[in-house]
Symmetry: D2
Subunit: 313 residues, 4 copies
C-alpha cells in the first residue's frame, strides 16, 4: 500500500502549510451566499479504500459543492447510458472530452463549434449532461441526491440559499443553454435543464463526505464499502480521465504537474481528488486563485501529493 504514512500527521502538516495561503486568494462574489463565505474555513479529509478516515480542520462542515457536482451528474448520465437507455456513444457526439482553453463560462467556443461543448466539466457541457438527465430521470435532482447520499454513506443536504440565488442571477448559464438549444444540442426546454443545474450546484456536502464519495472512481467503478458497482471499469476510467485533463478549469496542466491525480474543483472552494487504488481526498477553503480553484486547496493537494507520492504521470 502506497499510503503508508502516519496520515493524520501528514494532514496536519499539510494543513499548517496550506491554510495561510488562503490570504492570497479571492472569494467568488457573483452570488451573495458565496461572497459571505468565511475565508478562514479550511477542511481536509482523506478516506482510504478500506474506510479508514483522516480529517483536519473544518472537514465536517457542509459547503455547496458547485462544479464538483459535474463529476456526479456525469456519472449519473453514464449510469443511464450503461443501463442501455440509449444515451451511450451518442453522449460523446454531443459533448467532447478535450480541455477548452477558454474560461469555464465562455460562449465563444460554443459558437465556433456549433453548440458542442468541449467537455462535461465546463458549464456548457454540464448543461448538455443535465439535458440527458432531464430526459432519462423522473426527478434529476432527487436522483443525483440519492447517488451522492449512496456514495457519501450518509444523507447529504442542500444549500437552499445557493439554489435560490443561482436561479435569480444565472443569466450567463441561461444564455449558454439557449445558445446550445439554438444549435439543436438541447432536447428539452431550457427551464428544467437549468433547474437541474442549479440544484446540483447547491448540493451541500462536507470534505469528509466528498472524500468518501469519490473513492469508487479510484476503485474501478465499485463503491468500496458496499461493494456495489456504480460504473463499469471503463466508464469510471473515462470520468477520471476527463477530471484529469478538464477538472480544474484553466489550471488542468498545472494540477497535472503539481498534484498528478484526477481532481475537480468548485467555486465555493472545494476540490476533490481520486487516488487510484488508494482512496479519496477532499479539501475546502473558499478563497480562489485566478482560474477559479481554491488557492489553499491547490497548495494542500500539492503538498499532500509530494509527501504521499500520489502523482501517477
Amino acid at each position: 500500500m502506497t499510503l503508508d504514512h502516519d496520515l493524520d500527521a501528514v494532514l496536519e502538516e499539510v494543513a499548517e502549510i496550506a491554510r495561510p495561503v488562503a490570504a492570497e486568494g479571492q472569494i467568488a462574489d457573483y452570488i451573495p451566499s458565496l461572497a459571505e463565505a468565511d475565508a478562514d474555513k479550511f477542511g481536509l479529509a482523506l478516506v482510504e479504500m478500506d474506510g479508514t478516515e483522516h480529517a483536519t480542520g473544518d472537514a465536517d462542515e457542509p459547503f455547496a459543492i458547485q462544479s464538483i457536482s459535474k463529476v456526479f451528474s456525469l456519472v449519473l448520465a453514464m449510469q443511464k447510458a450503461e443501463a442501455g437507455r440509449g444515451i451511450g456513444e451518442e453522449l460523446w457526439q454531443r459533448v467532447g472530452v478535450e480541455p477548452s482553453g477558454d474560461p469555464f463560462n465562455s460562449l465563444v467556443q460554443l459558437e465556433h463549434e456549433e453548440g458542442k461543448p468541449r467537455n462535461p466539466m465546463i458549464n456548457a457541457g454540464a448543461l448538455v449532461i443535465d439535458d440527458v438527465l432531464v430526459e432519462h430521470c423522473d426527478d434529476p435532482a432527487a436522483e443525483l441526491k440519492a447517488l451522492l447520499t449512496e456514495l457519501a454513506r450518509e444523507e447529504i443536504g442542500v444549500d437552499e440559499q445557493v439554489a435560490k440565488q443561482e436561479e435569480d442571477t444565472g443569466h450567463r448559464n441561461r444564455a449558454m443553454a439557449h445558445l446550445i438549444r439554438s444549435f439543436g444540442n438541447l432536447n428539452n426546454r431550457v427551464q428544467p435543464v437549468l433547474d437541474a443545474y442549479v440544484n446540483q450546484c447547491a448540493m451541500a456536502m462536507t470534505a469528509r463526505q466528498l472524500a468518501r464519495a469519490i473513492r469508487f472512481l479510484a476503485n474501478d467503478g465499485v463503491e468500496p464499502d458496499s461493494g456495489k458497482r456504480i460504473l463499469s471499469d471503463g466508464a469510471a476510467q473515462r470520468v477520471a480521465a476527463i477530471m484529469f485533463t478538464c477538472g480544474t478549469y484553466d489550471s488542468a496542466g498545472q494540477f497535472a504537474f503539481d498534484v498528478g491525480i484526477p481532481c475537480k474543483s468548485g467555486v465555493a472552494g472545494g476540490i476533490v481528488g481520486a487516488i487510484d487504488g488508494e482512496g479519496g481526498v477532499c479539501v475546502w477553503s473558499p478563497p480562489l486563485e485566478q482560474s477559479g480553484n481554491s488557492i489553499a486547496g491547490h497548495r494542500a493537494l500539492m503538498e499532500l501529493s509530494e509527501r504521499l507520492d500520489l502523482s501517477r504521470v
Copy 2:
C-alpha cells in the same frame, strides 16, 4: 436637383438588370415563413422629397421588414432621448457605433467586450435599444407601429406568422439577451425585450412605404410631407452614419463602394436607402447573398447609384 432623370425609365432599366440576379441567391430558411417566400418577387420604389413616387414590380406588396426595423427602433429610442427622458449620451455608453467584423448574430464580440454590442444594427445592439424602449414606452410595439405609420403616410401591418414563429425559434436571440443581461447591460427582464424585438421584425411594409418612411433621414430629421421634425439634425445624421458603416452586415464596405448611401437590409430581402436631400429608396427581393443582404436588391441599388450618381463618398 440631382435626381434629374426620367426616373420611371431608370427604375425599369435597373429592375430588368437586377431581377435575374436573384437566381444566384439563397432564401433565408431559419423560420418557415421566410423559407416559403416567393423567390421571384421583386419590388423597387423611389420616393422624392417632394412626394413624387416612382415604383416598379412588386413595390406594393408588404413583406416583413425584419432588421430594417432596427433603424426605426433606434429612431424611437433617440426621440425618447431628445425628449429629455434621460437616455441621451448614456445610450452610447451601452451600445457602440462601430462595425463589428463578426456575423450579425454572433455572441463572441459580446463576450469579449463585456456585454456592450458594437452597434445598434446587429441583433445584440437592437436588443439593448429595445431594452430602452421597454423602459420608456408604455407599449413599444404600438409606438413603433405608430412611428412607422406616420413615416409611411399610411397604416402599416404586421406579419403575424413571422411574429409567432420568431417567438418559437429565437433561441439565439434569447441567448444574446441573457448574455447582455449577465453583464448588466439590460435593465428589464428578457421576455418583454424579446417581445419588442420579435414584434418589430414582424412589421410588414411595402417597398413604396419604406422608401417614403426613410426620407426624413435624408431631410435633416424632418418628415418632408408633414414638415414634422422626427429627430434633430444631429441625431438624424448619427442614424444615417450608423446605417452607412453598419447597416448591411459584413458587406458595409462593399455597399459603401457599390452604392455609397446609408442603407439597411433585412433578412426577408428588403433594403432601404436614404438619398441625402433627395429622397428615399427601397428594393425587395427575397434571395440573399452570403452576408445576408438581398442579392438582387444589392445589384439594383448599385445600378441605381451609378445611373443617378448617388454616391457621396
Copy 3:
C-alpha cells in the same frame, strides 16, 4: 460652393478648440522617433479645389505619414491595375473591402480567414498591396515618392530615422507577412515587401502637402491643378469608400458620424480627409486616442465638419 465661409477664420477657431485636447492623448512609443515627437505640435490645412490654400499652426512642418501612405500605395496599385497589367479584379480576390473589427495589427482575422486581409487600410492589407507593387514597379519606393510629389505639387521628403527604426523593430509586420505568405497570398519574398512598406511609412509630408495631395479623390480621380487623371472615377470612388469605412482603425463608425467624409489617419498623428467636390484637408497633432487616431486631429475635423457642414451621409 459649400466651403462658403471665411475659411481662415474657421481654421483658427477650430485650432483653438482642438489644440488643448492633445493633452488627453498618448504619443505612440513603439519606435523611438515617434516617442520623441513634440506633443505640442499642431498643424491644420485646407486646400480648395481651385488651389486656394488655408493653413494654421505647424502646417508646414513635415512628419512621417505612416499609415496615411496606405491610401497612396493603394492608388499606385490601382493605377497599375488600370494600366491593364493584370492586377485588376484579382486584387479584390486578395484583399477585402470590409472593416475588420480588430486592431490594425491583428493576426487573428488573418488566421481565421486564411491569409486574406479584411481591407487595404490595415497593416496586413497594405502588405498585400505592397506585394503587388513589388511585382509591378521597378522601384516601389521611388514610384510612390514620385506619385506623392506629383500630388503634393512639390518635392516631398523621407524621414530616414523612421525608416531605419521601423526596419529594426518591425517584428509584428514581419510576422504578418510570413503568415500571409504561408497562406499563399504573397507572391514575392517577404523582405522586398517589407522594404516597400517601411519606406512608404517613412515618407515625410506637411499637413499642407497632404491636403493638396488628397484632392484628386474628391475630384473624380483628376488632380485639380494639372488636370491630369490619376485614377478613373470609379477607382477613385472605391478608394474613398474604403477610407470611409476602414480609414480610421476601430473608430471608423465614430468618424462617419463626427466627420462624415473619407479620412485616413497615421500613427504619427496625421489625418487626411477628402471633401467631395470641394478640396482636401489635413490635420497633424501627435498624441493619439485609444484607437490610434490623433485625438486633437479627430476633434479638429469634427469641429470643421460641423462648421462647414461637410458630412455627406
Copy 4:
C-alpha cells in the same frame, strides 16, 4: 511488475488490430518528404526498464521525429536550468503548462496572451524553448543529437531532406517566431531559433530507439541502462505531466481516456509514451487522424493500454 504478459504476443495482436486502421487516416502533405511517406509502414516497440526489448513491424526503420523532438528539447532546456545557468523558474514565466484548445500552429492565442505560448508542446512554445537553447548551447542541434543518442543507446541520424524542406516552407513558424519576438519573448534573432527548430524536427529515429529513449521519464529522471541522471525527479515529472495534458494536440483528452499515459506525437506518424516505472513504448504509422496524431498509432496504444492495464488515471 505490471508488464506481466507475453509481451511479444501482445504486440503482435495489437499490431494486427491497429495496422488496418491506417487506411482511414491522411498523410501530412505540407512538405514533400512527408507527402511521399509509405502509408503501409507500421512499427511498434516496447522497451522494459531492465532493457528487454519487444518489437514488431517496421520498428527498426528511422523516421523524422518531428514534434516528438519537443519533449527532448524541453528536457535539454531543463538540464540547462538545473545546471544553474539561470533559466529555471524564469522558463515558466515565458511558456505556460496548459492545454491550448487551439490548433498546434495557431497564432491566435499568442496574440491574445501577448506572446506567451500556452505550453512547450505546440510550435510556439517549442520556439521559445529553442530560444533558450540558442542562448545556452554552443550548438543546439549537436547537443540535442547527443542527448538523443545517449538516451537511444546508439547513434541517431538526421533526415536531411526534411531539414531542407522545412527551411523552405516554414513561413508559418517564421511568422510565429516574429510575433513572439514582437512581444519581447524571444531573446535571440529569429533565424538561429528557427534553425534549431528545423533541425530538431528532422532528427531521424526508429520506434525502438524512441521507446528506449523515453524510459528515463518513467524512471524518475534516470536513464535506466547507464543509471545516469538526466533530470531531477521533479523535473522529469513536470515533463511527463506536460506530455499528458498537451502532448497529442487537440486529442489530449481522448488520449488521457484511451491510453492514460504521457504521450507525444509527431506529424510523420510517430507517437512515444512513458509507462511509469515500467518502460517506454513507441508506435509509427504515417497516416494521421484529424487532430494530427497517427491514427493507427493511437489505436495501437489504446489496445496496448487495455491489454496491459497501463492507464494510471
